[in-house]
């Protein structure tokens, strides 16, 4: 680091010395993850026993609730969608060594953007309405990420703080939008009017799912191709491994940061848009609560490969879809799944992921 060029380049790269998130070794990864899941399910079983119910009955009800019928599977896939979309975007940031924890706010803004377009669309709506609304969501998410990036790069504020603080501003902006321009007057609580039918995301017939899941899978595949097969993906991987090396190779670190932040912001915004257009058909206060933070933990598994986010997101989606029927049928509080999610990710963090 004595070379002044390198030092200047590193300075330009950002405030803190950084190292990418890495797995200790990719060998035995699958085994470790399976062990982590099993251990956390054992913890969950102990908690269920504490509540005086049978763990087997609770898990059984959860499985039936998640995959018991085509409709239930559809619900689980809908639940998976925001985690997969936002999580694979965040994973790209991780890959570039940028800790973006702003998905929570970007998803919320995506919901606002999509709702604004859907409600403002002139009557005589067509298929274009949905597409335009989704684009509105993606744009809003990207704008929110751009704001964080500008503060981070322009003023050297650590990206964790810039993205984190903007999350809270975004959540309040959703409430403000619902109390003002987008709100339904006299609804009793904060929500927008129902969107016109043309703005509803298409549902897959005879199946509870909307097409959001397909979009999410395509996006994850696209990101994988982007990461492994394009010059941008290469520059991103180099920057993630070593910032000085990336600067020395002539890659512009601010450009990489902008690119990957806008990309993940747009994906998170799209996730928010899909949630309001596909599930609620209106903007509701707190529609995205916790999605973004969980997407960040889900994205950990994608520190290696964007497609690896898919099974993690599916795990979370299935758990959450199954949790309600577990609560209804057995009486075990559905908050149990949040514990399972937290414990699983902590075990995986402890067992595999390192800062190199």
């Amino acid at each position: 680091m004595s070379d002044p060029t390198l030092q200047a380049a590193d300075e330009a790269a950002g405030p803190a010395r950084r190292a990418p998130l890495r797995f200790r070794s990719s060998e035995g990864m699958a085994t470790r993850i399976v062990v982590a899941v099993v251990l956390s399910l054992l913890c969950a079983a102990a908690l269920v026993a504490l509540s005086g119910h049978s763990p087997l009955a609770a898990f059984g009800a959860m499985i039936v609730g998640a995959v018991g019928s085509p409709h239930q599977i559809g619900v689980a896939l809908n639940r998976t969608t925001p985690y997969l979309l936002a999580g694979s975007g965040v994973a790209m940031c991780f890959r570039a060594g940028i800790i973006n924890i702003g998905a929570e706010g970007q998803i919320a803004m995506g919901g606002v953007g999509a709702a604004a377009v859907a409600l403002a669309w002139p009557s005589g709506a067509s298929e274009l309405t949905v597409v335009a609304s989704l684009l509105g969501g993606a744009a809003a998410g990207a704008i929110w990420a751009a704001l964080a990036t500008a503060i981070h790069l322009g003023r050297r504020v650590h990206e964790v703080l810039a993205t984190l603080l903007l999350n809270f501003v975004a959540l309040l902006l959703v409430q403000q939008a619902l109390a003002g321009p987008l709100g339904q007057f006299g609804a009793g609580f904060l929500q927008s009017p129902e969107f016109p039918k043309a703005a509803w995301l298409w549902r897959i017939p005879d199946f509870g799912a909307h097409v959001g899941f397909v979009i999410a899978i395509l996006a994850a595949i696209g990101l994988s191709v982007l990461l492994w097969r394009t010059p941008f993906g290469f520059s991103l991987r180099v920057a993630g491994s070593s910032r000085p090396a990336a600067a020395y190779a002539g890659f512009s670190l601010p450009a990489i940061t902008w690119g990957v932040m806008l990309l993940s912001g747009a994906l998170a915004g799209l996730a928010g848009g899909i949630e309001v257009l596909g599930v609620h058909h209106r903007l509701i206060e707190g529609f995205s609560l916790g999605f973004g933070f969980k997407a960040v933990t889900v994205a950990l598994l994608g520190a290696l490969e964007p497609l690896a986010v898919a099974p993690a997101a599916l795990f979370v989606g299935l758990l959450e879809a199954g949790s309600l029927s577990m609560q209804r049928q057995i009486g075990v509080p559905s908050a149990l799944v949040v514990v399972i999610e937290g414990v699983t990710m902590l075990f995986i963090l402890a067992a595999t992921v390192r800062r190199a």
Binding site: I99, R155, V160, L161, A162, L165, R355
Partner: protein
């Protein structure tokens, strides 16, 4: 005016506890993103402890333990197993949110959360001082944990500046190799610092639940742990400056309550953004002069 300042102090107290804990953790070199979960667990343990034992003191002790438990989780995963600090902290927050919501319902024996209503901790009048004009009612008629926060702030300042242990802790955040060379195991320092951070932040949670409302609701910390994180960075890891930053945030929120009271036509949501915007503006204003502890977030070698 005195009411307004008193409200600012009241709102600042839980933030200050969390910020003090966070300063310990970050000065030792571990990002304190888990403050939110530590506070939440402390808030939960305080109310359940006080409710079950009928003693506020037991509640406060349990808040220390509850916060420390989340601190221990963060310490084991992020320090011992060298995982990324930020993501570990976020995940610990998710765990605390799930665990408190779950246990609250299990305690009720059904799907509905148990309803606990305790009377909030009463204010203690400090003899003589409470009779001073203006500052008497403002500073010396406060609930007990507020005094603890003020004393803790000064104590932490002296600990960091004036004691050997404080020097070792700061050195662990700047140059762990030097600490190792001096014969102290830096990993042990970090583990202890993060667990202590949890206990102190847990007290902050107890302020929210036990001292202010007397009940626990799901996710009742509502982002205050993150705000405390911002305030300790704005304060550049200095306990006294952190107190000032927390008071500014407290004043902003007290001002918001006031505005609503007077029916001023400003949206409360916009006003609620003010603390976060202040934090962003100050951080942006500090710009590159914000100097993180040099070794923060860097994992320690094991098996040397």
């Amino acid at each position: 005016m005195i009411d307004f300042l008193a409200a600012a102090i009241r709102i600042a107290t839980p933030l200050l506890f969390a910020a003090l804990g966070g300063i310990l953790s970050e000065r030792a070199g571990v990002f304190a993103v888990g403050l939110e979960g530590m506070m939440l667990m402390g808030a939960f343990a305080a109310v359940v402890g006080a409710w079950a034992s009928d003693s506020a003191l037991i509640g406060i002790l349990l808040a220390l333990l509850g916060g420390a438990a989340i601190g221990l989780v963060v310490a084991l995963v992020a320090v011992r197993h060298r995982a990324d600090n930020m993501v570990t902290g976020l995940t610990a927050n998710i765990l605390a949110l799930g665990l408190t919501s779950y246990l609250l319902r299990v305690l009720a024996g059904g799907g509905r959360p148990i309803a606990i209503h305790l009377s909030p901790l009463a204010a203690w009048r400090v003899p003589v001082l409470a009779d001073l004009p203006v500052i008497g009612p403002l500073l010396f008629v406060q609930p007990p944990l507020t005094y603890v926060a003020a004393l803790g702030c000064v104590a932490l300042h002296l600990f960091l500046r004036r004691t050997q242990a404080g020097l070792t802790l700061r050195a662990t955040g700047e140059n762990p190799e030097a600490v190792f060379a001096s014969g102290v195991e830096p990993m042990r320092v970090r583990l202890l610092a993060v667990v202590a951070c949890g206990a102190i932040a847990g007290l902050g949670g107890a302020v929210l639940s036990l001292q202010q409302v007397g009940t626990f609701t799901d996710g009742m910390t509502g982002g205050r742990g993150y705000l405390a994180l911002a305030s300790l960075i704005v304060a550049r890891w200095n306990p006294l400056a952190a107190a000032a930053a927390c008071l500014v945030f407290g004043a902003a929120e007290a001002f918001e309550l006031r505005l609503q009271g007077f029916g001023v036509p400003v949206s409360s949501y916009i006003v609620q953004m003010v603390p976060y915007l202040i934090a962003l503006a100050v951080l942006a204003g500090l710009g590159r002069s914000t100097k993180l502890p040099a070794a923060i977030g860097q994992p320690l070698q094991r098996d040397r």
